[in-house]
């Protein structure tokens, strides 16, 4: 475990060094993400000029939800973006190298990339938190802060697991990119209160592809609209099931890679 941690730190140091070296790359990357986010917020503000609230959600609450959504997404994006490349690496036979070293192949794959663009999402997320929390009815107790942070970690794990599941399909299907992007885009529903969508979508994002646990359900808990413990329990169950399934599928994929070859 200590060895993994040290290897991770070494990679992180290198990534940060490069980030400083290629400052303009970083600024362009993060800047463009910032721009996308800003236009999303602007769109929301414009809509709320026409309506007072959306299914009981005020503009500030919507902005809180939007910002909160960015945090797990940003963390996942920052740390595990290389998972996207699994299908490409399978096609090119580049999984070989991970099988030649005496450390976990998934770990090797993940640490290779540090997606600095994600800072765009994280900056927007943090900024919206700072702006909206004082305006909202949120008690900043140890419990809510802890709960909020816990939900962010669990949310990132949901993202990563779903990404790993869809990416691992690439071990069997030559072009799995459409599946990956489709599923990933479903996450966008969680930027808004899922209650505004038809029942099918609500059920899908709660029970099937549980993106609702990434931000919408945690946000209701933090805004005292639901029972925090219940949501936390649901989230823990979702994360456990998903992450085990995802890792199993990846391992199964590696097995098939080893028997089929590339």
């Amino acid at each position: 475990m200590k060895r993994y941690f040290e290897i991770y730190l070494k990679f992180l140091a290198q990534h940060l060094k490069r980030m400083l070296q290629y400052r303009s790359d970083f600024l362009i990357g993060a800047g463009s993400f910032l721009f996308i986010q800003a236009s999303g917020i602007l769109f929301m503000v414009l809509i709320f000029q026409q309506i007072p609230d959306l299914n009981g959600w005020s503009l500030t609450e919507m902005m809180f939800l939007y910002g909160y959504f960015q945090l797990p997404r940003g963390i996942d994006h920052l740390l595990t973006d290389n998972i996207w490349l699994i299908p490409t690496k399978v096609r090119r036979g580049e999984i070989d190298r991970y099988l030649l070293r005496p450390i976990n192949p998934l770990f090797q794959l993940v640490i290779e990339r540090f997606q600095i663009e994600a800072f765009g999402e994280l900056i927007v997320g943090v900024a919206l938190m700072i702006y909206t929390i004082p305006l909202l009815n949120i008690d900043l107790t140890v419990w809510t802060v802890l709960l909020g942070l816990l939900f962010i970690i669990l949310g990132s794990l949901i993202y990563t697991s779903i990404k790993l599941i869809t990416a691992s399909i690439g071990f069997w299907v030559i072009n799995s990119m459409p599946i990956m992007t489709t599923v990933y885009n479903i996450a966008d529903f969680s930027k808004y209160p899922t209650t505004i969508f038809p029942k099918v979508i609500q059920y899908t994002v709660t029970y099937l592809i549980p993106f609702a646990f990434v931000s919408f359900l945690p946000a209701t808990a933090l805004l005292n609209r639901s029972n925090g413990l219940e949501i936390l329990l649901g989230s823990v169950i979702a994360v456990s099931v998903l992450s085990i399934a995802a890792y199993r599928l990846w391992v199964l994929g590696l097995k098939s890679y080893q028997s089929v070859g590339s």
Partner: protein
């Protein structure tokens, strides 16, 4: 050190027919085609041996290497590398081996070389002393310091290969697999690579398995060769054996001071049967081909030089390249070596 027992590897391919209708047919009911890349291959390799594994493109070399390293699982048969089944106990096996694929780097593209090494040190848990000692040795043989601070992606092919082989040896593996380690390298870089392999093999008794198309690599490094063709091993034995079987054909060419015009019976002069020597003449150039087991080079040279004034002389032994191509063409070799 390595034991392969009747290993085979088949790949399933789906054959598609041409055209739209063929495409639809293929979608509904694709024709399965099984290709045996490696077919019932067995061999045993002792510790410290340097094995040349040769064969034409697509003969099954890389597939064998991938099975030995644990990347691929054989369809049937069994492999033991230092007591470990590589595809079952991949991580434990990975600690014992070093791998260089000439076509593809094992290093991190964006990291400075020195960082790659320090990460590998961590991955294989190499002690500080060992690390220092080995880096010094690499410096002696491979001269890495000129580019050790550069990111791997900026290195030239020769530099990258030097870096790759150093990286594969950092943890002092028991077995080193080299898949075309000298491909695309200039003469100088090739020499350095060979030197590093030799040094490691001598110092640490590293077992080396080398696939290559460069027969100089084999002559320089290997004491034993395996030749694979169409997934089957067609030769397993000493390089010298194959050379005695195929390599006794020798040619000596002379450049004479004057054109050769007297058409003397050379066989008679050399006291052999006329069909034992092949004489080719081109004005002042005289070339005599013979079997070394019947005639010696010295005798041939002596006879000619006694009778003619010779200005130049060249001895040409059959090179391994022509031997191998002969074996490829014949398909099966019968060299008795047991």
């Amino acid at each position: 050190m390595i034991e392969a027992k009747h290993i085979s590897k088949s790949f399933v391919k789906y054959e598609k027919e041409k055209g739209l209708i063929g495409m639809i047919k293929g979608f509904v009911n694709a024709k399965k085609v099984i290709k045996k890349a490696v077919d019932n291959v067995s061999f045993t390799i002792q510790e410290g041996e340097v094995i040349g594994y040769i064969g034409a493109n697509g003969a099954g070399k890389s597939t064998t290497i991938k099975m030995l390293t644990g990347i691929l699982t054989p369809t049937s048969g069994e492999i033991l590398v230092d007591g470990i089944i590589p595809y079952k106990d991949r991580v434990r096996n990975a600690r014992n081996i070093g791998v260089v694929f000439g076509q593809r780097t094992q290093l991190w593209w964006d990291l400075p070389l020195v960082e790659s090494f320090s990460i590998l040190k961590e991955i294989y848990q190499v002690s500080n002393e060992d690390y220092k000692a080995r880096m010094e040795m690499f410096e002696d043989v491979l001269q890495l310091s000129e580019f050790i601070k550069s990111p791997v992606r900026t290195l030239s092919l020769g530099q990258r290969m030097r870096a790759d082989i150093a990286a594969s040896l950092l943890h002092n593996p028991k077995v080193l697999y080299l898949d075309e380690p000298t491909i695309g390298l200039d003469v100088n870089a090739k020499l350095k690579m060979r030197q590093a392999i030799k040094t490691m093999n001598k110092t640490f008794k590293t077992t080396v398995i080398l696939t290559t198309h460069d027969l100089d690599d084999i002559e320089e490094l290997c004491n034993r060769i395996l030749i694979i063709d169409n997934g089957k091993i067609i030769y397993d034995g000493a390089l010298s054996d194959i050379k005695t079987k195929y390599g006794s054909d020798t040619k000596v060419s002379f450049v004479l001071k004057e054109a050769w015009t007297d058409f003397v019976d050379l066989a008679h002069l050399m006291e052999v049967d006329p069909k034992d020597i092949i004489v080719k003449v081109d004005e002042d150039k005289l070339e005599i081909g013979f079997d070394k087991r019947i005639l010696s080079v010295a005798h041939v040279a002596q006879v000619i030089m006694k009778n003619y004034e010779v200005t130049d002389l060249k001895i040409m032994e059959t090179d391994i390249e022509s031997i191998v191509s002969r074996i490829y063409n014949e398909g099966k070799v019968n060299v008795s070596n047991d």
